[in-house]
């Protein structure tokens, strides 16, 4: 199981892997800005000039038409006529060009993997998304939580262009949602995973490799690698129609990981897996993130999300109701006291410790600093209450989730949930 501490370390690494003052090869800082936003000036202008000069040298050496096009682009950049953030499309192939092309994608490397602003989706009278705004960084595992029907799968479909938003905007890997070329870099495991039952497992993956535009020579190796990752390498030649649901889900996960995508979207990736499979998936997800992929994990399995995600967002009725890293979302410490002789009228006296709720003989105070527990106990004893048990700790993700999404639902034996809203 992944500890909270290690999660924190990972998150820190993913968000601040370079120092704030560090600059990459094109004179940008770690945030991806060149300092002047879209207007290049000062030291950024100088960096651009150096960069452009290098490219001019390359172009002169090669004297290739493709490079002339490239050069025009960089001159445009230097003159402020073009925008770095929009990236550049290149034509032509050459050894030196490929070197330069490695540099070019870095222009958008630090843009979020996913960014949506006020995204809305309406199906007839039903509002599936009601102004969803969120951002997923590169290289992070992002848990997207919500009850059934909260809008999780709708969000995924909008991101991938399988459905169109009613309103709002969004980008995936720096391109508009659903952009065809960007989908080459996105792996997707659908909630309803189903693959051609008459194909062999290997063939399904080579088909997906072909669809994503992978060169013919690499497809079989990529498929074999993906099957190895998901533990299906010994079933590569078997027909998918003979697979169990769990094996089909593993195959879908393999398809999503094919070709090292920059973004992996997993919609309920462990719904058909046994506990061993779930552990495997957690390791696979972490490994994908360690390779630099952003993982968008759509789930309502809270323990799974808690163990694997760097950041989470909780969605309810089509809106994000909480987001941040787990420490942010679950940072509220609570103290539970099993107590006798306490009545609701006594509660105002302990409100200085946090928000108290009393359900039967269980008093919960949230949020509450654990350092104040002895003082709380003293206060309760002074009020004449008899204390049987005291527990203090962070709210579980499940509790936090219920607090957030149960607001419009009838009480279901957890009166404290209503008080904490």
């Amino acid at each position: 199981m992944t500890s909270s501490a290690s999660r924190h370390v990972r998150h820190s690494r993913s968000t601040s892997g370079r120092g704030a003052g560090e600059r990459d090869g094109i004179g940008r800082d770690a945030t991806g800005n060149t300092g002047g936003g879209r207007h290049r000036s000062g030291s950024d202008g100088e960096s651009l000039a150096v960069w452009t000069s290098q490219l001019e040298d390359d172009a002169a050496r090669l004297a290739a038409d493709g490079f002339r096009q490239l050069l025009d682009v960089h001159r445009g950049l230097a003159a402020g006529q073009l925008d770095l953030d929009h990236g550049v499309r290149l034509r032509g192939r050459s050894a030196s060009l490929s070197v330069t092309m490695i540099r070019m994608p870095r222009l958008s490397l630090d843009l979020p993997a996913i960014e949506v602003i006020d995204l809305r989706k309406r199906y007839g009278q039903v509002e599936a998304l009601a102004g969803l705004t969120m951002s997923v960084g590169r290289g992070e595992v992002f848990g997207f939580l919500g009850a059934n029907g909260a809008g999780k799968t709708t969000t995924v479909k909008l991101l991938l262009g399988l459905a169109r938003p009613t309103a709002g905007t969004g980008s995936v890997l720096g391109a508009p949602m659903g952009d065809l070329a960007t989908r080459r870099k996105v792996g997707y495991l659908p909630e309803l995973f189903r693959y051609q039952p008459w194909l062999k497992a290997r063939e399904v993956l080579t088909l997906h490799a072909e669809l994503m535009g992978m060169p013919r020579g690499r497809r079989r190796a990529a498929a074999a690698e993906a099957l190895e990752i998901v533990g299906l390498h010994d079933r590569a030649g078997d027909l998918v129609g003979g697979f169990s649901k769990g094996m089909q889900q593993r195959l879908g996960l393999g398809a999503a990981l094919l070709g090292d995508p920059a973004l992996v979207v997993l919609d309920e990736p462990t719904s058909a897996l046994d506990p061993v499979g779930r552990v495997d998936v957690r390791a696979i997800v972490r490994a994908a993130a360690d390779r630099g992929a952003a993982v968008f994990l759509n789930s309502h399995l809270l323990s799974e999300v808690e163990q694997v995600c760097d950041r989470i967002a909780i969605i309810d009725h089509g809106r994000v109701v909480a987001s941040g890293n787990l420490d942010d979302v679950l940072g509220l410490e609570e103290t539970q006291v099993r107590v006798a002789g306490l009545s609701p009228s006594d509660l105002p006296a302990i409100e200085r410790f946090g928000v108290p709720t009393l359900a039967g003989d269980l008093l919960a105070v949230r949020p509450m600093n654990p350092a104040s527990v002895p003082e709380l106990v003293s206060t309760l004893v002074a009020m004449g209450a008899k204390i049987h048990e005291v527990r203090s700790g962070r709210m579980s993700l499940e509790q936090r989730f219920l607090d957030l999404v149960a607001r419009d639902r009838p009480p279901a034996g957890t009166p404290s949930a209503k008080r904490l809203r």
């Binding site: 693959y195 008459w198 994503m212």
Partner: protein, 280 residues
């Protein structure tokens, strides 16, 4: 598009139903050949003239073409109606369309793959039937390729219709509607011919309209015309005999043949629009 077409051909080739159809068609051709050989042998023994024999054989061929055409239409409906609908229902399409694959490429790839399977099946079986019957009877249609092409065209029209319906309707509903529409178009063609014999313009108008709505009957006329010996066309003068659905005095008008091609293009364009609009 080519990737999806190849995938579709592979899917059809791995389905047993296609091979069952091939085997059934081969058995039917073998039985027909045996029947024609016996018939022609008996007729010659009894001294019946070659012209009469050719006429009878051509009528048998037309009847076989009618049955085979129906099988082709059913095959087109059977393969076409789940082509998109089933993929969408099961989620197979969503996994593929999340890749850099245009919906138009996906749809046209599905259509192209099935079209190739159906055309190959139609041409192979059609030419085989014409060839072996010709071998045992001595009768070959004036242009054996032409009726087979019209037969395949008829199936392509139905395939396009079922693919269009498949973007919105469940497989069974789409297939059933397409087959019923084909039956109605064929019936309208028969009614039109009767109308022509009776001089009833309202009936011919209905038939003309139906040929534009679903041009299968116009193509059927091409099949019949292509299988007839030329002397039969000139010999039959009786208006009611000429109104038979198994007789064609002329090939389908060129504009109807062109319209059939345009019709397929338009239906596929509409199918693409429907699929693009659909929320997956």
């Amino acid at each position: 598009m080519i990737t999806i077409a190849k995938l579709t051909i592979g899917e059809a080739a791995r389905r047993r139903v296609l091979w069952v159809l091939v085997i059934l068609a081969a058995v039917a051709i073998a039985l027909t050949t045996w029947g024609v050989a016996s018939l022609v042998g008996t007729a010659r023994d009894e001294g019946i003239g070659e012209l009469q024999i050719k006429f009878v054989v051509s009528q048998i061929l037309i009847f076989i073409a009618f049955m085979f055409g129906f099988v082709l239409v059913m095959t087109a409906a059977f393969f076409g109606s789940p082509a998109i609908a089933s993929d969408l229902e099961t989620g197979v399409a969503q996994a593929m369309l999340a890749r850099p694959l245009r919906r138009s490429s996906y749809l046209l790839g599905r259509w192209l793959g099935l079209a190739i399977v159906i055309v190959v099946y139609a041409v192979a079986m059609g030419l085989l039937a014409i060839g072996v019957v010709g071998l045992v009877s001595g009768y070959l249609p004036p242009d054996p390729i032409l009726p087979v092409v019209y037969l395949a065209g008829q199936a392509l029209v139905l395939l396009s219709l079922t693919v269009l319906l498949s973007t919105r309707l469940p497989p069974i509903a789409g297939g059933a509607i397409a087959v019923v529409a084909y039956g109605l178009a064929w019936t309208a063609g028969v009614i039109g011919k009767i109308g022509l014999a009776l001089g009833a313009t309202s009936l011919t108008t209905v038939a003309d309209a139906s040929r534009y709505l679903l041009p299968t009957d116009a193509l059927w006329q091409g099949v019949v015309f292509g299988l007839e010996p030329s002397f039969v066309i000139n010999a039959i003068e009786d208006e009611f005999a000429r109104s038979s659905p198994f007789f064609a005095a002329s090939p389908p008008p060129a504009q109807l043949v062109v319209w059939s091609v345009i019709w397929i293009v338009l239906v596929l364009a509409l199918a693409i629009v429907q699929l693009r609009r659909r929320e997956l």
